[in-house]
């Protein structure tokens, strides 16, 4: 039996079978993709939490802000998965249910589970870059597996999906992004403007 841990380890090893197993008949792991993305978001939020410490937020607000940030990470992922799904459908006539794309591309976020390691001094920047490249490679493997695309098509699909998601976030999604930032600032208790350093409520 393939356990969630096996699938995550397979995704980390860039094994196409791990992604295909997620699509198999009666696969019970489709929610695994979303869980991986949320946990990856949480881990990355811890890794990039210096600003929260700098603003001297309390432990309670710190934990709440991490949860909100992971939620925002998940929302951004859904936009990206939707974009990939649409580009594959329109560009390569590769039809797959959206939920399969969410599950498989979500599992490809497994390398970002190590996002907490970005906290490591001096190596944080290179580690973050390495995790991004690792995740991109996993996404290409996942896209090939779910849509049956060649590597070149998978790259086009991922790049097109990224461009589209950026476009959506900067146009239609702008109010949503703004609300997300406000929610995060409210939960953290930080009132910040570009001219003033952040001040925190205890």
């Amino acid at each position: 039996m393939t356990t969630p841990l096996d699938l995550v380890l397979g995704a980390l090893a860039l094994d196409p079978e791990a992604f295909q197993a997620l699509l198999g008949p009666g696969a019970a792991h489709q929610r695994l993709g979303l869980a991986v993305v949320y946990l990856a978001g949480l881990s990355m939020a811890v890794g990039q939490s210096v600003a929260l410490f700098a603003a001297r937020v309390s432990p309670r607000r710190f934990a709440a802000t991490l949860a909100v940030q992971a939620g925002l990470f998940l929302a951004a992922f859904l936009v990206w998965a939707l974009s990939v799904w649409w580009v594959a459908r329109v560009g390569f006539d590769a039809a797959r249910p959206l939920r399969d794309v969410v599950a498989v591309v979500g599992l490809a976020y497994a390398p970002q589970l190590f996002g907490v390691l970005v906290l490591a001094p001096y190596l944080g920047g290179p580690l973050q870059a390495a995790l991004s490249v690792w995740t991109l490679l996993a996404t290409l493997v996942a896209a090939s597996a779910v849509f049956g695309l060649t590597l070149g098509q998978a790259i086009t699909c991922a790049a097109g999906g990224w461009l589209l998601s950026q476009l959506l976030q900067r146009t239609l999604g702008r109010p949503v992004v703004r609300v997300g930032r406000r929610v995060r600032a409210w939960v953290a208790g930080i009132e910040s403007t570009p001219a003033n350093p952040p001040e925190a409520r205890r």
Binding site: V57, Y122, G124
Partner: protein, 337 residues
Amino acid sequence: MTPPDPGTIALVALGALLVMGALAPLETLGWWAGWYDDPVDERALDPVSGHPDEAAATEPQAVSAAGDGPWVVFLTGIHAVGTVSHARREARLVARLRAALPHGRVIEVFPYSVTNRALTGERVFAGLWRWSLRAKLSGRRLAQIGGFLINVRNLWQVLVSADRRYGPFYSRGSAELIVRSLRRRGFPIDDGAAGARVVLVGYSGGAQVAAGAAPFVRDRTGAEVVVVSLGGVLSADPGLLDAERVWHLVGSADRVQRLTSWMFPGRWRLLSWSPWNVARHRGRLRSVVIGPCDHTGIDGYLDEEAFVADGRSYLDVTVDVLAAIAGGETARLPVAA
């Protein structure tokens, strides 16, 4: 059961190393965020020597007013677990420095904890560090590998100090500890310290902490701050530009120091705009080869049984050079002939 293959062992070791790295900045960040009820262990600011035969190392010197003599703050190397070094050679260095500077003060500060908590004190992993210290002091070669964990932990703290994200917090915390220690030993912070001279002597990783703390110590005390790096594991910290002078003392056989100059890109000559190179061009930072010393241990800076051509031991040379810099007699440093 088959033993794990070397690849797996290497992967696990790398993972453990990175986890240690990820945990490294939390003490500093938690201190800055005010998460600790008792932010600084005040008791550890007045250390008692761990060496009965080095009683002189903790004997109080005559209190000097600002301007009378240098205030030397010694920041130990990465092998330490608390304010007072368990290394016999370092205790000798401190004792000898005190004897060489009768009108000055020599104070020890533990540079690898902004809360001044000894690793073996009130900490979650205190048990681990106590075991590691026992292994380090056991004298058995295999057990000493366990003792090396302390060095790894403290090296991560050096990198926290050198990191752009955490450095400003770490340096403020270290400076705060230094200022508290100075005040407890009679430094007249509140009565005006104009003319006082504070010399931050950092050995190995302690040099990075000294460089980072220098501007904050200067701002808090109003004193002239000189940084001395003894075989320093030192990045191109912006604090180098705020010190009155920076002396980077090296031994010609010190491979650790050479590796460090390669490890921190800001020290490459190519990057002429880095604080290290700017300080060098302004004449504030001077590198001096003091002798044929290695980084530590036998033939190290603190070895009393290795001698240079003029008959002095390596420790004599180190003490002579440090005392000359602390005393402001830098026209001709007494390096090895």
